[in-house]
């Protein structure tokens, strides 16, 4: 039978990858370099990026940082705790309102209000999500998606916190450099800490809750207790984003509870690669500027945006991160069968 030769892709781990993993000791600079290079590239790349951007794009990166924190929080909860949380808007809104209100009421400096908004927003979000923690899967997702809507309607109906107008003229951060490096360093630190956390004892227990909650219960551990801690950690990330956002624009209003904060991070997480933690951060840093660049398309922006997403889901469901990882760690070549 002629012409029926088929090809398949053969993948082999690079030897340096094998030498640098598991129990083997690092024995040369090239091995250390191999491990450090991708990490260093992300860190250094992010830190020098602002120098090449004008004011407008620097602002975009600030926003991308907020979405990166939310995508990280989403990935952490979905892949390491088993909670699909669509409550990004709740975290942002709670953090933003608390920080902004503290600033407008007491006139405290943003650098004091932001940490307080972060913790206050996380406590608030966690407390309102606790009743939903008994629910599983889609039910938790629905409840977490509804809560920001409740918040918006309560604010409008009661005309509190500035009602639909919001409160403007909040203090902003000293200058653009503080703005941009604050968010970038928080993103990098959060990524580092969450990656550490999922391999600590607490992270192992959370992964246990995701994979078999019955066995965790039989091991004498309260799963509700651990879920609460996990939601609090995720909410800290989102609430920092919110608190930061209200001082970035010097304004707070109901758009802090906007659905974008719940939906866009999911898209970023899918694009970056679920379960990789760094992937969703990368996804957000690509997707947010992309969505900004597509502004020229007007209403068509959403279409272009959706097509990109669908293309990712269909052709690269593994996400950018695992694709990059594969290219970095393995040889690939076509082999005739």
């Amino acid at each position: 039978m002629e012409g029926t030769k088929t090809r398949r892709k053969k993948r082999l781990d690079r030897s340096i990858k094998v030498r640098t993993e598991g129990i083997y000791a690092l024995s040369s600079w090239s091995e250390i370099g191999y491990l450090m290079f991708p990490r260093a590239l992300l860190i250094v790349g992010l830190l020098i990026l602002p120098f090449f951007l004008d004011l407008y794009w620097q602002r975009v990166i600030c926003q991308a940082g907020i979405y990166a924190l939310l995508a990280l929080a989403f990935d952490f909860l979905a892949e390491f705790v088993g909670l699909v949380c669509l409550g990004g808007a709740l975290f942002v809104g709670a953090g933003g309102y608390i920080s902004g209100l503290l600033n407008s009421t007491f006139g405290w400096h943003p650098l004091i209000c932001i940490p307080m908004g972060t913790i206050g927003g996380a406590v608030f979000s966690t407390v309102v999500l606790i009743p939903a923690l008994r629910l599983r899967g889609i039910y938790f997702a629905i409840v977490s998606f509804m809560l920001p809507l409740f918040a918006v309607y309560i604010i409008i109906a009661l005309s509190i916190f500035g009602g639909t107008e919001g409160i403007s003229a909040l203090d902003t951060l000293p200058n653009t450099w503080v703005e941009i490096y604050l968010i970038l360093s928080v993103v990098l630190i959060a990524l580092f800490l969450v990656r550490r956390l999922v391999n600590e004892d607490m992270g192992l227990i959370l992964r246990g809750v995701k994979e078999n909650d019955q066995a965790v219960k039989a091991s004498g551990i309260s799963i509700t207790n651990y879920r609460i801690r996990a939601v609090f950690i995720a909410a800290l990330l989102g609430s920092f984003g919110g608190a930061y956002l209200s001082h970035l624009y010097g304004w707070l209003g109901i758009s802090l509870f906007s659905m974008d904060f719940s939906i866009l991070p999911i898209a970023a997480a899918v694009m970056g690669g679920l379960g990789s933690l760094a992937g969703p951060v990368l996804g957000a840093l690509i997707l947010t500027p992309l969505s900004e660049a597509l502004r020229g398309f007007g209403q068509l922006r959403v279409v272009v945006y959706s097509v990109i997403l669908i293309a990712f889901i269909v052709y690269k469901p593994e996400g950018i991160m695992s694709w990059l990882q594969r290219k970095y760690q393995q040889f690939e070549h076509w082999e005739e069968v």
Binding site: L204, N212, S219, G220, I221, S222, I223
Partner: protein, 252 residues
């Protein structure tokens, strides 16, 4: 402090799922250090009994008491922290974690923290020691393999290891022998005997009668959610009702 009453005691426990009476008015006493076998045809309520005792299901009626305390309606993690834990019929380890990392979960329970006096030390080493002790070959690096990749025999051991890590006083084993080969079972039997010698009280829900009867001090038979016999293995198997229920009607 040693009381002479039963260690674990169920009184008139019933549970219905919709119209199905899964467990009806079951009572039994378990004494410290005993091995109690629970047998019965499929659907006779054995697993439900395990769920009721370990707190995974709340009984409709009746009381469960453990070490003289009423634990009816307590959540499973509280009961586990008192020293009563269980294995599951379907093996679902934390598959993405290395086998020994599976034991980090029980090693972080309040019970273990309490007994170790807050000095936790290197939990990984403790976990690997436990696994090695129950037959994981350290040289073959089995404890380091992802739990999801282990064969069934190891998964059953891992499930027991998870219980042992909790330093339990009672372990309810839900069909720990099912799906294993004869040789795998005979390598598990000494482990169960050793647990008993170490003072762990065992309840073993089983279908494998021959192996169970080698271990059990006492056997309880269930049929349609009711307890129909309770006594030493040989005696119970002579009971005509048991023979009818469990092994089919005798031909004349």
């Amino acid at each position: 402090m040693e009381n002479n009453g039963p260690f674990l005691s169920l009184k008139g426990v019933s549970k219905a799922f919709g119209g199905v009476q899964a467990v009806l008015d079951v009572s039994f006493d378990l004494y410290k250090g005993e091995i109690l076998g629970v047998i019965g045809p499929n659907g006779s309520g054995k697993t439900t009994l395990v769920n009721l005792t370990s707190g995974f299901i709340r009984p409709d009626r009746g009381t469960v008491s453990f070490k003289g305390k009423n634990i009816t309606g307590q959540p499973p993690h509280k009961i586990a922290n008192m020293g009563l834990t269980r294995t599951f019929q379907v093996m679902r380890p934390y598959h993405s974690l290395a086998a020994f990392k599976n034991l980090i979960v029980p090693l972080n329970s309040p019970r273990v923290k309490r007994t170790r006096g807050g000095r936790l030390g290197d939990l990984d080493a403790v976990a690997i020691d436990i696994l090695e002790d129950i037959g994981f070959e350290r040289d073959a690096r089995v404890p380091y393999k992802p739990a999801g990749s282990l064969p069934l025999g190891y998964l059953k051991r891992l499930e027991l290891g998870r219980c042992i890590a909790l330093q339990p006083e009672v372990v309810l084993c839900d069909e720990i022998f099912s799906g294993l080969s004869m040789s795998e079972i005979s390598s598990l039997l000494p482990l169960m005997e050793r647990l008993q010698m170490e003072g762990v009280t065992l309840v073993m829900v089983e279908h494998r009668l021959r192996e169970l009867f080698r271990l059990a001090d006492r056997v309880m038979v269930m049929n349609f959610g009711e307890k129909i016999a309770d006594g030493p293995p040989a005696e119970v198997m002579e009971d005509p009702e048991v023979r009818r229920a469990y092994m089919g009607r005798e031909t004349s």
